[in-house]
């Protein structure tokens, strides 16, 4: 069974979904996420509207599970408010809503304690990005946790590894907007803007960010949407139903393509075996083209490989890093007086520098210079020394090529 998860924002969305052929599959399940503006960053529904929409959804056979999403973060005061707000929908738990999906760990813990019968799903859209971390959440939360919604930062190899090892299925975003940040501050109102804006900076790659303000603060989306449609088959073949696929089609008219998405999943599940491979590729293209009417540029994000740490090596001077962890590290050069002396700070209490020692000096450009220590002077009274101690400041004779910051070791 393949699971597709999507949002419905209002009754019109439900009617649109009704008009699609989504009810005739034994291999593809559709799960629907609902929310209200008091629990969610993007929902505009009042509680009464949420309840009415949820009751309507419950009547649809093609919706296999109905999920209540709570994706806001809550400070202590907000959580206290939430404790009373949630009572307005508690009667729907397990009767209408099959599970609650939550981002705030405090809200999740409260739900688990107050409503021990309801299943929960954990939104981990910003990590962890390691198996041990996700496993730790799964173990800590226990058997009521039925799914984890993982980050779009994970690569396909990680996803497959995790899906096959975890006790609960993963849910990934396949198609939709990429959330860049979330703040409780009302950034648009502060500058007298409408609740929706597009912001562009002169810095490269900072163009057309979509910004939305709601009662919970301000969120910002990347201008290019994530599209992993071409990976669905691969994930399904590798992990079966251990990976569930989310489509965030809440913006504009995006939901209209859901019927094609559903058809595509039927191909994938081999339910429609009369269709050829080329039919399914055509369908994928059609979905992308229809989606492109709403969002022109689609990206694959970090799915092939997450390289967001590769630049870090360049940010540091490697020459000045590696020798500092060496056990033969002696100290560093603080000052160089050309033709006269070098001031050195001894920084290793296990090593003694003596007159006659041969040392290696690495300058900030990485050049290695061998140097014979033929004289050591005390910096305070310029008396000659034979040996040094940790934290001593000493003078050594000048050595060409050495500059302040150079490191010394045996």
């Amino acid at each position: 069974m393949i699971k597709i998860v999507t949002y419905l924002s209002n009754h019109q969305d439900l009617l649109l979904m009704d008009s699609m052929e989504t009810g005739n599959s034994i291999e593809v399940e559709v799960e629907v996420i609902l929310s209200s503006k008091i629990f969610s960053l993007l929902s505009t529904l009042e509680i009464a509207e949420l309840i009415s929409l949820a009751l309507e959804c419950k009547k649809r056979k093609y919706i296999s599970r109905l999920l209540l999403e709570i994706d806001i973060l809550m400070t202590e005061d907000r959580l206290q408010l939430f404790k009373s707000e949630i009572t307005s929908v508690e009667t729907l738990f397990n009767t209408v809503f099959d599970a609650v999906r939550i981002k705030d760990l405090g809200a999740l813990k409260f739900i688990l304690e107050r409503y021990p019968e309801i299943d929960v799903e954990l939104i981990l859209d910003n990590g962890p990005h390691n198996l041990q971390g996700i496993e730790a959440f799964v173990d800590q939360i226990g058997e009521k946790l039925k799914r984890v919604i993982v980050s779009a930062q994970l690569s396909k190899s990680s996803l497959i590894k995790y899906a096959n090892k975890l006790k609960v299925p993963l849910e990934i975003l396949v198609l939709g907007r990429i959330l860049l940040f979330y703040t409780p501050r009302k950034l648009l109102s502060y500058v007298d803007m409408d609740k929706y804006a597009e912001a562009t900076s002169e810095e490269s790659f900072h163009k057309n960010f979509q910004i939305i303000e709601s009662a919970h603060g301000t969120i910002m989306f990347y201008p290019k949407d994530l599209c992993l449609l071409s990976y669905i088959d691969y994930f399904y073949q590798s992990c079966g139903e251990k990976i569930n696929f989310r489509f965030d089609l809440r913006e504009g008219n995006k939901l209209v393509i859901f019927d094609d998405i559903f058809k595509y999943f039927k191909y994938i599940s081999r339910e429609s075996c009369e269709n050829s491979k080329s039919d399914s590729s055509d369908l994928l293209e059609k979905i992308k083209n229809r989606y492109a009417q709403e969002c022109k540029t689609l990206i694959r994000g970090h799915i092939e490989e997450n390289k967001t740490d590769s630049i870090f090596k360049k940010l540091k001077n490697y020459h000045l890093q590696k020798s500092k962890v060496d056990c033969l590290y002696v100290g560093k050069v603080l000052e160089v007086e050309k033709g006269s002396y070098m001031v050195v700070m001894i920084e290793n209490k296990n090593l003694v520098l003596k007159v006659g020692d041969m040392i290696k000096i690495i300058n900030p450009l990485g050049k290695e210079i061998l140097f014979n220590v033929n004289k050591i002077e005390n910096i305070e009274d310029l008396q000659e020394l034979q040996t040094t101690e940790d934290n001593d400041l000493i003078l050594l004779p000048f050595c060409k090529g050495v500059s302040p910051g150079s490191l010394i070791y045996f």
């Binding site: 907000r78 959580l79 910003n126 730790a136 703040t183 501050r185 500058v191 900072h206």
Partner: protein, 397 residues
Amino acid sequence: MTRKELPELLLPAGNLEKLKTAILYGADAVYVGGERFGLRARADNFSLEELKKGADFCHLRGRKFYVVLNAFLHDKDMLDLPDFVKYLSEIAVDAVIVADIGVLKLVKRESDLKIHLSTQSCCLNSYAASFWKECGVERIVLGREVSIEEAQRIKKSAEVEVEMFVHGSMCISYSGQCVISNYTAARDSNRGGCAHSCRFEYSFGKKKSFFMSSKDLMGIKLLPLFCKCGIDSLKIEGRMKSQLYVATVAKAYRQLLDCYDLLLSDANLWAKQLNEMEEELRRIPYRDYVDGNLLSKAQHDSVYYQEGESGEKDRYMLVGHIVSVLQNEMVLIEVKNAFTVGEWLEILPFKGRYIKLQVENICSLKNIKLQKCKPNTLVKIKYLDGMEKGNIIRKKK
């Protein structure tokens, strides 16, 4: 209140030099990063040897030494972590600051180290605090969105130590919830690669604004409330910031905390001290100060609608620090920024008001008289009463 009863004053240390400065100017504890696993890819960070030295320096003076492991690690980053954690345990680090639950579990498995939950985990309420406590966390660095009064309730209800940011730069986003750099610069902000996109100016059609740049936090005037609410630790932001910043902020907060009892006996004197310290804090670079969410939710006036920093005209710069006092006649200075004969310098003593000094002589190490000194040199100048090894020297820009 004795020093033990006051909240811990926790300073950042980007390198060993800054660590010593923080401790000498009154920090009860410092937090530092190793060369990996922390959130500041570009900070100097500590080598293994320096971590040991840092821990020893703190412990010898009865202060605490924390190491940040607060990056959100990917699987490959976790491979070398066990060895590093064992090493931290060997050198008796007082706690590690962790954001990622995978790292947390690994630390618990590999060591007996105490664990503080990083603000990056965005723990904002008592239920979340209880969750983390059950995972083995002893202290929670609360998100900057939490007020002091909320923090007090979280501490009481979750029965866990709480730490709050009291000073420094702020993310506009909930901590750990911003991935702008991940998509615009291929740099993981949760592994130390933030490109500070929130500080840029953006245009909305014709309108332009630095609409998402946060002002800096300054909670010094709220110290009495922090004390009253039993906040365990007051954290200063800024592992990337200068030695002058570390000295100024440590000194200001230490001085005010130490005269907390004055508030009851002589409120006017306390207010005078507060004014003086606030003035000091305006002598280092900052982007307008606000009290953030410490009293109530941050509003319009928490955004810094401009570029650069505030208060240029009152700004000071680091000259260097005293490396040694030579028979109470001269002091040896490691110079970071040049000065000349005739210039006025200010020495920041560890306690009390700064000492003003007009430079009469500058001598090189070989006792050659100089008119001007250069950065990255060591020179001697006249000793004045009150100067001590480790004192920071500054001058007006």
